[in-house]
């Protein structure tokens, strides 16, 4: 029967696809344990040394620190500006709302290399020297649209009756915003901030055009050509933390659904 063939064919296909998806990740993690000297592309046996002494590798921890700092500042800027924009376009009627929406989506339709070259051309013509803050500016820029999309979805699902109730109870506009609207939007805002940080941390192309002498973690990997195992250690550690965080969030959400008695 056709249906029963499809029944195991699809899961089999999916298992193969997932194996493919995970292959390079496993490879990166395994090679973080490689007892290599300079060239980490040849397997030289297992070791934990690179994990224990990551910062012995010159520059890698500084680059990591730079990336974290840039990621935090850029995320802060993008999240604040993006949340305000999302509330405006999701909640209010105003002239030019259509073109505002278009303007908010346009950065996502622009290839990274064009954004990067555009800002670099701008900084060049204005005479700004490239460095930490130019990278922060570009990162906040490309994160902004993603924040708007993420928070807007949350704004759209907000029940206006809750804010009305706040006003009916004589809450001022400010009180309603801080005590009702913002707490309801928080999950969307947190998701947007995490997404921003992840996008900023791993960005390479836009950063390369605007970094000047600043070395982020991806730029450091790039300049190494065959990066040492310590790069893998940092990447693997981030991966493990992120996956654990995702799993914990899902478990908490599932437990909460169960407690509230929501099925699906």
């Amino acid at each position: 029967m056709r249906l029963s063939l499809g029944k195991w064919l699809l899961p089999l296909y999916v298992v193969i696809a997932f194996a493919l998806l995970l292959t390079p990740i496993v490879h990166v993690i395994i090679y973080s344990f490689n007892d290599s000297r300079r060239n980490n592309s040849i397997w030289a046996g297992w070791t934990f040394d690179k994990w224990l002494n990551v910062c012995d590798q010159q520059g890698v921890c500084e680059a990591f620190g730079t990336s974290v700092a840039i990621g935090l500042v850029a995320t802060l800027i993008a999240t604040i500006l993006g949340t305000l924009l999302a509330i405006a376009v999701g909640r209010y009627r105003f002239r030019g709302r259509g073109s505002t929406n278009l303007l908010l989506f346009l950065p996502m339709a622009t290839p990274e290399v064009v954004l990067g070259a555009g800002l670099a051309a701008q900084f060049l013509s204005v005479g700004v020297s490239k460095g930490f803050w130019t990278v922060v500016i570009v990162h906040a820029l490309f994160c902004l649209s993603f924040v708007v999309v993420t928070v807007k979805a949350r704004v759209a699902s907000l029940d206006p009756a809750l804010e009305e109730a706040g006003r009916d109870l004589y809450g001022s506009a400010m009180q309603v915003f801080w005590r009702v609207t913002l707490p309801l939007l928080t999950p969307g805002i947190v998701a947007a901030a995490l997404l921003s940080f992840a996008l900023s941390f791993d960005d390479f192309i836009i950063t390369k055009f605007n970094a000047g002498q600043v070395t982020t973690f991806p730029l450091w990997i790039y300049t190494k050509k065959t990066p040492p195992a310590e790069a893998n250690v940092i990447a693997a550690a981030i991966f493990i933390v992120a996956i654990v965080a995702v799993v914990v969030v899902q478990l908490v959400a599932a437990a909460r659904r169960k407690r509230l008695g929501i099925t699906q």
């Binding site: 390079p24 990740i25 500006l81 278009l102 290839p111 070259a117 192309i205 990066p227 790069a231 899902q250």
Partner: protein
Amino acid sequence: MAFAAFGGGGAAAATANEPVHLRGGWVAVGLLAPGLAYLLLFFLAPLVSLLMTSLQVAPEGAGKGEYVPGFEWSNYATAISTYWPHILRSFGYALTATVAALLVGYPIAYFIGVTARKWPLVQALALTLVIAPFFISFLLRTLAWKQILGDNGWIAQTLHSLGWLPSDQNIVGTDFSVIFGLTYNFIPFMVLPIYTSLERLDRRYLEAGNDLYARPSTTFWRVTLPLSLPGVVSGTLLTFIPAAGDYINASQIYLGSINTAMVGNVIDRTFLESQEYPIAAALSVLLMGIILVIVAIYVKRSGTEDLG
């Protein structure tokens, strides 16, 4: 609006019961002003800068990277006549990778969104695995593929020993390896929007197809696929646009060679190394212009304009 299609599956639901929009007034202005000012300064102004740079001219006896404002339209002619193979290659690679990512990604999205509905745990695990590549450094995972597919890797050696791959032929540094890398990188961007569309698909529609004696394949082509089209449109755009502009996979350090250079590689080299700013800017403007035209036509033809 054409670009609203990026909102993807998610946005479609939001418009279904459009929230009450309050009258804007000064509050809306206050909310909008900082963000729009930021976009004006750091998005629109740079695009104008790029346009102006693309028309700059080198004065008599100018050194490397020295240009003055002008209206040198011939920069575009030079850019096209010198680099047309790179432009063509970029769009060829991006198109092939998008189709490949769709072929790989759709079944995954279908499995997570439809088949695995009965098992929330499997669904959650599969979704986590789909986004897993996001959490590992983009450059390192591309290097990992370089090693896995490289000459000393078991895949190349097996293919060589079976005689399926000529001994003087590599996997890395070819059109194939670049397209493979692009496809790999953008599979999650393809899967997630399609999954979002399929997840909301009402199972009763599929049962109705079955009740009307349609074969499963007929139900798929006539019911499932059309209903998931908004997700397919967003997924293909989210793959095609960054793929056309990417140049990591195509770079010689990663999965490419001199013969696989894309337009991004040329922009990087002409801007950051040889400092031929007008040429780099002209190529950027061309890349962006072609993408916008392709996207506008595609979104219009697929009839999903009003998603946002």
